[in-house]
Symmetry: C2
Subunit: 408 residues, 2 copies
């Protein structure tokens, strides 16, 4: 949309946005949605200037473009706060073998897993990585994702890690340096690799990335190594994230609290102590049900976390090995059917709360005056089809800063 | 495509089709796929006349239209052999309440469930039902479904049941009379309702429908009532289907064998005796993992059924209450991640074996000479993305009898 031009999205069946102000939303506030039926949204210079009922629409000048919202519902542009889009190749062979019975950890131990993608990503090179990230960004947009985080972590050498971060930034994502994803084959052990990464990669990574992340898990990095890595990253100005409690409780939540991390992500193995600790902290629990589904493992204890008062977000975990899924609408469906979350809780978790994880909650995550005009129009009579229409092709149009892309 | 004109789909990355001839495929045969890389398909008058490698492509005259298959993979048009597309309204409110904790059976007992859709479907009337079925048929096509069964069962009075069957037939589906879905409120008990349905609805239903179906379950119809209903339907010339073993084993498999039914569908509660019985019979086990996911209930024992030698098919169970999901690609993803089926097994289960359930396996279900040119082109470098790319928007083009519809 031309800067300054106004756009009126009119006659929407519904407009739904997480209620209240501020972020993150917790407890009963997480389930509250402001709902306007027969609604309009007025956009100017890429920002929302007004929303309301059609019958209250004020007279507008004739410089206003119109977009017909009949039969559509508007929700905020979705925010995916945990993706791994910078990789070469795929893992469809491993997926097919695992479908017939091999476990993820067995495949990883047998030389499949993350390191097979590291090889393919290094081979892809800077241009190949940039093309892959651009393709994946397009996939996300088709599913209604307008703000997204993208991690490196399939390079694990200086050149490929930095190329991954640059590719995410160039495609409009929020880059996270997942330097501590796995130990690459050219290093003897995790400590030696981390020494290299912090000395040789961090200085430049900190100029591109917004955050740093670590895979704290049996077979990856332990709590001491994660503390060493994250402390150095924090000192370099990066916000902190952790992959934790995916297969085992290995100290990720206490470490996240100790270091003031923005989030701890996965939590499939988190028990009641972990939930209580998160409830008392300003660390968001990022839940990734598509990953649990993809690996056929237990779902994270979402209901217990919300009921304890923890702030949660939902994300896809898009990656080639454990969640080849970029669809936040499907994640909302999983949240409603597998995690015991109401559609309103799921919506807040992948909009305002996910934006909070990315430090963007004042900019995106609500369809309300003052926010960026990132809006998804769903081909549905009720906005809750976002969770209800499982696997449905329901994203009709996506507006990014007021600029509409029609998808069906 | 104009009758007689030839269409060449060229330069396909891959063409994959269930191997062998005949149907249904069982045991090790279920997992075999004929794969051609760098492939072409030649179509004439809506039928496939040749498939092969590009380097073996014979010289063709200049009356041949071409379709560029670069970057795409061809699989047979998907066959959905179990859907309930003829309904009014939706159940998004019930879905949202259930997400917060109420069980399906509790909602059903509280006056939600099937009977709330019966009210909405009767209110929709013949035109409303026809519009709904047409809309749902469009959704299925966008997910690659080119052959589908559609059940009545939300009318449960003469007029609405017949209108539902006519709507399915008019939209190109295979109509199944699910006259025994539930007992409508105007009848005291199941026996009185069945007397009415068999006397007043069956004679005309048998002229429109291809098959009859019954919901054999605690709270719906028992085995004796199902036998009474199905026997009358068989005598009227209809093929037989059963909803069985969804929540409890209530005799559906023995009854299906006794009556020579084409399928017994659901089977989430089926034990090893049931699997052995099906292995020895010409009754296909139709598995509906999207329904199990939607209701957060146990998955059907797919691996045990296949390993025992039973013929299985996969379907969506698309309906507003327990599976608002028309996506067979998502069902294939669930098959690979939740049911322990390899992508090749999933493909055969929702093509050739599903076609067998509908009595159409000589016509559709394979991408091979002599079959109808119903073909799905996937935007993927490997056909197994059908299962791997979970929730992905990967259906690029669908050909129905050689006529292509581009979807992205």
């Amino acid at each position: 949309m031309t800067a300054g031009r106004r756009l009126l999205v009119r006659d929407l069946a519904q407009l739904a946005t997480p209620a209240g102000a501020g972020a993150p939303l917790r407890g009963p506030s997480l389930g509250k949605v402001d709902l306007v039926k027969d609604a309009y949204v007025l956009i100017e210079a890429g920002r929302i200037t007004a929303v309301g009922r059609m019958r209250d629409l004020p007279a507008l000048g004739d410089d206003v473009q119109e977009l017909d919202g009949r039969g559509l519902c508007a929700v905020p542009g979705l925010v995916d706060c945990h993706t791994h889009p910078a990789f070469g190749g795929d893992r469809v062979e491993e997926f097919s073998v695992r479908a017939a019975g091999a476990s993820y950890e067995e495949l990883h131990a047998a030389g499949g897993g993350i390191l097979s993608t590291v090889r393919a990503t290094r081979e892809a090179g800077e241009e190949g990585i940039a093309r892959a990230v651009e393709r994946h960004r397009g996939w996300m947009l088709r599913q209604g994702t307008t703000t997204w985080e993208g991690k490196s972590g399939y390079g694990l050498d200086r050149e490929t890690e930095l190329a991954s971060l640059r590719a995410v930034a160039a495609a409009g994502g929020a880059p996270t340096w997942l330097g501590a994803h796995a130990v690459p084959p050219e290093f003897e052990d995790a400590d030696a690799y981390l020494d290299f990464a912090l000395a040789e990669v961090l200085p430049e990574a900190a100029r591109i990335a917004e955050a740093a992340d670590v895979f704290l898990e049996r077979g990856a990095f332990d709590a001491g190594q994660a503390r060493h890595y994250l402390t150095a990253c924090r000192d370099a100005g990066l916000a902190l994230r952790l992959h934790g409690d995916q297969f085992t409780e290995a100290g990720a939540i206490p470490l996240a609290l100790e270091l003031g991390a923005r989030s701890v992500d996965h939590l499939e193995a988190t028990g009641s102590d972990g939930a209580r600790a998160l409830a008392a902290a300003d660390v968001t629990a990022v839940l990734l049900p598509a990953s649990a589904l993809f690996l056929n493992r237990p779902m994270p204890p979402a209901r217990a976390l919300v009921d304890a008062g923890a702030a949660i977000a939902l994300a896809t975990d898009f990656n080639p090995g454990s969640a080849f899924c970029e669809s936040l609408p499907l994640v909302c469906g999983l949240a409603a059917t597998q995690l015991g979350l109401a559609p309103a809780e799921a919506l807040a978790a992948c909009t305002v709360n996910a934006a909070h994880v990315l430090g963007r909650a004042e900019e995106v995550g609500r369809t309300a005056p003052g926010y960026a005009a990132d809006i998804v129009l769903l081909d549905a009579p009720d906005w809750r089809y976002l969770a209800y229409h499982l696997g449905g092709d329901l994203v009709h149009t996506v507006l990014v800063r007021g600029d509409p892309t029609r998808l069906r």
